[in-house]
């Protein structure tokens, strides 16, 4: 330490002291609550804690039980399906909506409000709304049948094989509005001159979007990606409101497994093991990406 304080140079530690002091509460929160809580959870996932945490270590028992539980496997599969499709469709739909909105249409404000409105609703409300919409007796199926198409069947929430798509529909309805707004902001950030130049060169519009505009919108895409991805991992309330995991275990998700085992089964150890696995999954995806995204830039 003494070496770094070379005579004549300002002390690195004292530089911007005010802002550093201002940061202390946030740093403490991050260290104690986020990091500390995480480490504590990981450590206690190796114990046989029941209703209350207790430090009797049992090795990997909780993890063995976790991966032997069919409900956990179903949860992981559901999250994978939901995650991949949600990512693709919300980016796709969001971008297309934004691109259409960017064509200097009339009533843009009205449309923007309409599309963004679902985002103002919580997942619980969204889930309940879509539970009714997809209810076979009162929802879409009931309406179509009452119009005369008697054999029409559309009841994803009561069919174990496709229930996760019923949840996906609700998730997309809620989330694409925000993606659209972010994309629209990104599109507005593109200089008019670039469009003019492309038009002079005779490049068709779709090509301009794909090869010029989208690469220029990279920061916007990354922000959106992070927002969507974090929404996917914490998927819980939507499922609880729409199906509460049913029919059977068909729409279970990892976060719900964690909650159910921690609080309903009074088995903290099992819940901690499951949440540690969730953390690990996120880390496996995020760490290499963060390294490429932020670590690589320094060397350029």
């Amino acid at each position: 330490m003494a070496k770094s304080v070379a005579p004549g140079r300002p002390n690195q530690f004292l530089r911007n002291l005010n802002s550093k002091i201002a940061c202390i509460p946030m740093m403490l929160t991050a260290l104690v609550i986020f990091l500390g809580g995480t480490v504590w959870t990981v450590i206690y996932s190796f114990t046989n804690s029941k209703l209350l945490p207790r430090a009797t270590f049992v090795g990997f028992d909780q993890y063995e039980r976790l991966w032997a539980a069919s409900r956990w496997i179903i949860s992981i599969q559901n999250l994978a399906i939901y995650g991949v499709l949600c990512l693709i469709f919300s980016l796709l739909i969001g971008f297309v909506l934004a691109a259409l909105m960017d064509q200097k249409i009339r009533f843009e404000n009205t449309f923007r409000t309409i599309f963004l409105y679902p985002f103002a609703l919580s997942f619980i409300v969204t889930g309940l709304v879509w539970q009714w919409v997809l209810n076979p007796e009162y929802g879409v199926q009931g309406v179509v049948r009452s119009l005369g198409w008697e054999s029409f069947t559309f009841d994803p929430l009561y069919t174990p094989e496709i229930v996760i798509y019923g949840i996906l529909i609700a998730g997309l309805w809620q989330g694409t509005g925000l993606v659209m707004c972010l994309m629209l902001a990104g599109l507005r950030g593109i200089d008019e001159d670039i469009w003019k130049a492309a038009r002079v060169d005779g490049i068709p519009m779709w090509k301009t979007y794909i090869f010029i505009v989208i690469p220029m919108m990279r920061p916007v895409f990354i922000t959106t990606l992070v927002l969507i991805a974090s929404g996917i991992v914490k998927l819980y309330d939507l499922v609880v409101a729409q199906t509460s995991g049913g029919p059977g275990n068909a729409s279970e998700v990892p976060a719900k497994y964690v909650y159910d085992y921690m609080f309903q089964a009074q088995n903290l150890g099992q819940g901690f093991a499951a949440s540690t696995m969730m953390l690990l999954t996120v880390a496996i995806i995020v760490v290499p990406w963060a390294y490429l995204e932020f670590g690589g830039r320094k060397r350029v």
Binding site: A69, R71, G246, G248, N249, Q264, A265
Partner: protein, 409 residues
């Protein structure tokens, strides 16, 4: 002027809580269906009559939703005055870590040891020789509720037991009636299965599997038969798209479904709809087979409080709950059996009388909530809700059941 009015309003709103002399005691529970709410109102009335005030803390969404909220309030340092739990092991660890209040004094004063029947109820309240809960009622799971109207429409006689019910299934289906109503929540499938174990398989099998946790018996042919029966139930229950138990009961009530296996709390729903046992609906305790009922139920636990006045009110509430008058008023509305043998239930209807007679005759077994931990119960719920909603084979299900019993505690 406006500011002054606002200040006055604020002052009043602050002073209000102190104006009431009676001690407020918040009581949390998950009794929210029609029959249950009517029963809770009786409890509240009896408690208010003692000069205290019952602050109702009903949590909707059945025990699975309510218990975590209650537990986190107790462990998080914001305890309520009293809270419902199912008898048995749900509050075990809370008691062990000293968060709950010892009621031994109240119990001795009220001679609980002499009046509470069966004694196993008090035994589940007792940890290390001290009594920690006041039992409210006895509930048993092994009831088959049948809609007489539905069977009339299907042109078959009302079944007298589970086997006849299964045989009548195709006729019901033909008449466009859902044979078996089953709500989608996991605990319902789980309870149905346990009812089959004791009613179809017998008390012996039940005790060996759940009390002794004998994995060999769980893997044996007797248990295989139960899984076959559960498979039949699963076929009959296909298509009942409801979630809550009382919605499923409502299907039976309205004749849209033939029957439902549900605990005796379903009785309260029939009661409130003014249906008559025998003419409108039929109840078969022990599914009409093995005349044994499990005596689980609800009990009130009292968190340790610092406030002396509230602690006193807790004692009053505990005594009120066990009081004979409250017992009759509450249980008639709830459709459950009182926890004491010395009360007069002349006004009880036929179904309740059947249940009381079976218990008086000694046809009792300990409920699964008392025998196995919440953890094992949850794993069983996972397995059963998967079994009843997908097409996993009977063999696979039994294999998973065996490994679950092996690891059970």
């Amino acid at each position: 002027m406006r500011i002054r009015a606002f200040t006055a309003f604020l002052a009043v709103s602050v002073a209000m809580p102190f104006a009431a002399h009676a001690t407020d005691l918040e009581v949390t529970h998950w009794w929210t269906s029609g029959g249950e709410a009517a029963a809770v109102a009786e409890l509240a009335k009896a408690f208010d009559a003692t000069g205290n005030h019952w602050v109702d803390g009903a949590i909707a969404g059945s025990g699975g939703t309510a218990r975590p909220i209650m537990i986190s309030r107790i462990t998080g340092g914001d305890p309520m005055g009293a809270t419902q739990f199912n008898h048995g092991r749900q509050a075990e660890e809370l008691v062990q870590s000293g968060l709950m209040r010892d009621l031994t004094d109240v119990a001795e004063k009220g001679k609980w040891k002499d009046v509470i029947k069966p004694q196993s109820l008090l035994a589940s309240c007792t940890i290390n020789g001290k009594i920690y809960c006041a039992p409210v009622n006895i509930h048993s799971w092994q009831w088959l509720w049948l809609s007489n109207e539905a069977f009339k429409k299907a042109g078959v006689e009302v079944p007298k037991n589970w086997n006849e019910f299964v045989a009548a299934g195709p006729a019901l289906k033909k008449a466009g009636i859902q044979p078996l109503a089953l709500g989608g929540q996991p605990w319902q499938a789980n309870g149905l299965f346990d009812a089959l174990v004791i009613s179809v398989g017998g008390t012996d099998l039940y005790n060996k599997v759940y009390k002794d946790k004998d994995a060999k018996v769980a893997a044996g042919p007797d248990m295989a038969k139960i899984f076959e029966a559960a498979d039949q139930a699963r076929q009959l229950a296909k298509g009942s798209n409801v979630q809550d138990w009382n919605q499923a009961t409502n299907l039976v009530l309205t004749g849209k479904a033939g029957g439902q296996i549900m605990g005796d709390w379903a009785q309260g729903e029939f009661q409130i709809a003014n249906k008559k046992a025998g003419t409108d609906y039929t109840c078969l305790p022990g599914l009409g087979l093995n005349q044994t009922l499990t005596t689980g139920g609800d009990a009130f636990y009292f968190p340790l409080l610092k406030d002396a006045e509230k602690s006193k009110a807790q004692e009053v509430l505990a005594a009120t709950i066990v009081d004979p008058k409250t017992q009759v008023a509450f249980n008639l509305k709830k459709g459950s059996v009182p926890i004491r043998g010395d009360v007069d239930l002349a006004t009880a209807n036929d179904c309740m009388k059947k249940g009381i007679a079976i218990i008086a005759k000694g046809g009792v077994a300990t409920s699964t909530d008392q025998l196995i931990s919440a953890d094992t119960q949850k794993q069983k719920e996972d397995l059963m809700s998967e079994f009843f909603n997908t097409s996993i084979s009977v063999k696979d299900a039994q294999k998973r059941f065996v490994s679950l019993i092996e690891a059970a505690d």
